[in-house]
Subunit: 161 residues, 2 copies
DNA sequence: TTTAAAATTTAGATTAGTCTAAAAATATAA
DNA sequence: TTATATTTTTAGACTAATCTAAATTTTAAA
C-alpha cells in the first residue's frame, strides 16, 4: 500500500539541504549539512548512507556530498514547494518573512503535487493580470488585517466582462 | 529548546480521532480508533498510555476512551486547523474534496496558530463582503483553472473607494 | 450459566532517526 | 614534515511508533 519510493520528511530535508548548500557554496559537506539541520554529523552520515542506497546522493568517504540526477530533481521539487508556500504565506497571508520561512519548511513535506500546482497557477493567474499593482481583493485584505475594517469596493459585485 | 508540551503529529492524530469518534458516536473505543488510523489496537494502547500521562486522555481498562478538558481543547484546535485548510483547498484552490480531505489531514499538523488565524481571517473577510456571490477574483480564477484563459475585469485596476 | 467470539491488553521485536563517544582520516600550522 | 586541530566515520545506545503473537477481559449466544 505504501509507496516504497516515498521519502520521509526527514530524508527530504537532507536532500533539500544538500541542494541549498550546493547553490550557496558550490559544494556540500557533512558538517555543514549537520549545522543547517541542527543534528550531529553522525546523523548526517547515516542519512547519507540511506540516500546513497536509493541512488539519490553520491558521496565518497571524507569528501563532498553530491546529488544524483534523480536526487537533484527531487530536491528541486521540494524547493519549489517551499518557495510557493513562502510566497503564499508572505504575499497573501502577509506573515512575517522569518516565520513564513520556518512555516514553509514544515508544510513543504505535506503538500501534494496537485496543491503545489494549483498554488503555482494562482500566482501565475495574478501575474497575468494587466495591472502592475496587487489585485484589489488583496489590497482590501491588507487593510482588513491592519484595521479590521472592510472597505467597500464594487469590484466584488460587478459582472465579469 | 524544544517545547516539552508539544505533541507529535502522531499524537495529534490520536487526539483528533478520539474527538471525531465522540462527535460521531458519542463514545470512542480502542478498536475504532485503530480502524480510523489504520493501525493495530496495540498501537492505540501505547498511544493512550502516553496521552494519559500527559493528562490529555482518560481511559479505564477495557472501557471507553475519553478526553480531558485540556485534551478536548487541543483536539478541537487541530480540528479547526483541519477545517480551515479544507475550506482553503476546496473553496479557493478548487481541489477535489476527497483529496482536500487527505491533504488537510496532513498539513494540519504543520501550520502554526498564526497561519491558522490568518486563514480564518481571510474567510471572515470574504464573508463580510457585501455581495452574496464569490469575489470576482475567485470567479476569474475558476475560469482560469478551467480554460487557462484570464478574462479581463477592471476590478483589478480600479481605485479603492 | 457456561462457552465461544470479539475486543483489549501485555510482552517483546522491529524500524527510523537521533545521540554520544571513540576511532580514523584529513587539513592546518609550527 | 611532524604535531595539532578539525572533520568525518564507526559503533553502539536510546526513543518513538509501529507490529505480531499471546494472554486477558468483556460481550453475546447457546
Amino acid at each position: 500500500m505504501n509507496n516504497p519510493l516515498a521519502l520521509s520528511a526527514t530524508m527530504e530535508d537532507y536532500l533539500e539541504t544538500i541542494y541549498t548548500l550546493k547553490e550557496e557554496n558550490g559544494v556540500a559537506r557533512v558538517g555543514e549539512i549537520a549545522e543547517k539541520l541542527n543534528v550531529k554529523s553522525s546523523s548526517v552520515n547515516s542519512a547519507i548512507k540511506q540516500l546513497t542506497d536509493k541512488n539519490l546522493v553520491v558521496h565518497e568517504k571524507y569528501g563532498y556530498v553530491g546529488l544524483t540526477k534523480r536526487g537533484d530533481k527531487i530536491a528541486s521539487e521540494i524547493k519549489d514547494k517551499h518557495n510557493i508556500l513562502f510566497r503564499f504565506l508572505t504575499e497573501f497571508l502577509l506573515l512575517d518573512p522569518k516565520e513564513a520561512e520556518k512555516e514553509a519548511c514544515c508544510i513543504e513535506h505535506s503538500i501534494s503535487k496537485k496543491t503545489f500546482l494549483r498554488l503555482t497557477k494562482f500566482f501565475k493567474f495574478l501575474e497575468e493580470g494587466l495591472s502592475t499593482e496587487k489585485p484589489k481583493i488583496l489590497q482590501l485584505f491588507e487593510v482588513y488585517i491592519e484595521t479590521g475594517k472592510r472597505i467597500q469596493c464594487d469590484c466584488e459585485t460587478q459582472e465579469i466582462n
